[in-house]
């Protein structure tokens, strides 16, 4: 059985050319039009008061049960697991 090495090499060359050309074109595009390249999205940072070692905000919020403003400071003296969530 004979093997046509040219026919096997041909796509390999094309693939190599493709591998080189596409990143080159992309790099040229980025250099020419930087504003069109989306920035890598970063994870949104939590606000002040949510990091370890910080005091959690003592803002008041209406209690679901009776609407009375209640602050997280009202729970001082207890160890809490606080869950900020939504039912959806």
């Amino acid at each position: 059985m004979t093997t046509d090495h040219r026919s096997q090499r041909a796509p390999t060359d094309a693939k190599r050319t493709f591998r080189i050309t596409i990143p080159l074109l992309m790099a040229l595009w980025v250099a020419a039009f930087p504003a069109t390249v989306p920035a890598v999205a970063q994870q949104q940072e939590l606000p002040v008061g949510f990091q370890v070692g910080e005091a959690f905000p003592t803002l008041a919020f209406p209690a679901l049960e009776d609407g009375q403003p209640t602050s997280m400071a009202d729970f001082r003296g207890e160890r809490l697991i606080l869950h900020v969530f939504a039912s959806w």
Binding site: A41, Q44, E45, L46, P47, V48, G49, F50, Q51, V52, G53, E54, A55, F56, P57, T58, L59, A60, F61, P62, A63, L64, E65, P69, T70, S71, M72, A73, D74, F75, R76, G77, E78, R79, L80, I81, L82, H83, V84, F85, A86, S87, W88
Partner: protein, 419 residues
């Protein structure tokens, strides 16, 4: 969340920890039903305005007796929510459990807030300052305070305050979001204004355009918006919850605002149309018109602006004018709307109906029909007007004339090619 509830049961029973929740939801009463359904009895605080400024949920923290964050908890591992060190470590001198520390500890009060608000602020004084100084900061302080501590007029005052901030600083995304929250809340109340829902959506959209990474803001749009934009149906658990609560012999917590259409809708991967062969109910326009004399019609697009090829969900709200004693006649056909999209536009279904209430010959309830419309892929920027009409049987008065009437509608949405 039920997982956290179960995993903390022993610790709660032993008095080692307490669970507390803060809800980031437009309709917090739904969380009350959720808690009842899952038999979770711990206290919940309502932060619909997102005064905490959290970008996403859920967030779970372990907090010590002094209010200091000690852990950010991400997952329940092997049934354990918190390491033993948190439970055993002596972070601070013991304070009697449940002590009502209403006076804020200055040393542990956070920096980033216009309203530390552990004690009732003087709202009249805050408003006087806002009116006198007329600065965004002063109105912001007043708005944040009145959102929590305001009385019966809290929505009016919040709209006034956040509206003033937005007029001065139209790029303040938080003020735009909070203005939207107050407007939508007023829309759900008896004091609703004619454009409250539309303006709420408009403000939320503007906020999201400023900061597209605010997940909580995006959820408000998704909640009422098209199926293509939904990650999952938001409130499909409500009927299940009610059924299971009733099966336990309890009455489900009543909801102030019933979830509907978009809030139940399954997400979609592609825009699907159906009912193209439906017959137009009044092709020659011969049905007698109601020009808003008996039924008021309100049409809101969510989102209010779409790019070519994008979908808007229209909420068509029909309300009998109570002052005129107008009411629906339910002995005949359902209320329907017919949508006649212009060339190139697609409608999910041209003919949509609202079911009649069972066992009621007449009624005065609000009827909402939602329909999704897709913009053409090739179109110009600018306002688009999609003709539609509603057909219904309405009675003019008690024992008055009942007529089949038509009200012509326009579904308006803006197309922006560069959106």
């Amino acid at each position: 969340m039920p997982g956290w509830h179960e995993a903390t049961e022993e610790l709660r029973d032993a008095g080692k920890i307490r669970m507390v929740g803060i809800i980031q939801e437009q309709h917090p009463d739904r969380a009350a039903l959720f808690m009842q359904w899952k038999e979770m009895g711990w206290p919940l605080l309502v932060d619909s305005y997102n005064l905490l400024e959290v970008p996403y949920v859920p967030i779970t923290l372990a907090i010590d007796e002094r209010g200091i964050v000690r852990r950010q908890l991400r997952a329940i591992r092997d049934g354990q929510v918190i390491d033993d060190a948190f439970l055993e470590e002596a972070f601070a001198p013991a304070v009697p459990p449940g002590a009502r520390a209403r006076q804020a500890d200055a040393a542990s009060t956070p920096t980033a807030s216009a309203s530390p608000a552990t004690t009732r602020p003087d709202l009249a004084a805050l408003r006087a300052v806002a009116v006198r100084e007329d600065t965004p900061d002063a109105w912001r302080d007043y708005g944040n305070a009145v959102a929590v501590w305001g009385g019966e007029d809290r929505l009016e005052r919040a709209i006034e305050a956040f509206g003033a901030v937005v007029r001065e600083e139209p790029e303040d995304g938080w003020a735009l979001f909070r203005l939207g929250v107050a407007l939508r809340a007023r829309y759900d109340s008896e004091a609703r204004g004619p454009d409250d829902f539309r303006n709420a959506v408009s403000n939320w959209s503007a906020a999201l355009a400023i900061d597209p990474n605010q997940y909580i803001w995006r959820r408000r749009i998704q909640q009422y918006g098209p199926r293509l934009d939904k990650p999952y149906p938001f409130y499909d658990w409500v009927p299940v919850a009610r059924e299971e609560v009733r099966a336990r012999g309890q009455d489900p917590v009543p909801l102030i605002v019933e979830p509907r259409g978009s809030e139940f809708a399954e997400p979609a991967r592609e825009f699907v149309t159906a009912g193209a062969d439906a017959l137009e109910p009044d092709p020659r326009g011969r049905v007698l018109r109601d020009d808003g004399d008996f039924i008021t019609a309100e049409v809101v697009a969510v989102p209010p602006t779409v790019a070519p090829g994008e979908v808007a969900r229209f909420h068509v709200t029909l309300r009998p004018i109570l002052e005129k004693l107008a009411h629906w006649n339910n002995e005949v056909d359902e209320t329907v709307i017919w949508v006649d999209p212009p060339r190139g536009w697609e409608v999910e279904a041209p003919l949509l109906s609202h079911p009649l209430p069972p066992n009621e010959v007449v009624s005065q309830e609000t009827r909402i029909i939602e329909v999704e419309v897709k913009a053409p892929r090739l179109t110009f920027s600018g306002p688009a007007r999609i003709p539609a009409y509603a057909l219904y049987y309405v009675c003019e008065d008690v024992n008055g004339i009942c007529m089949y009437r038509r009200q012509d509608l326009v579904l308006s949405v803006r197309v922006e090619r560069d959106r």
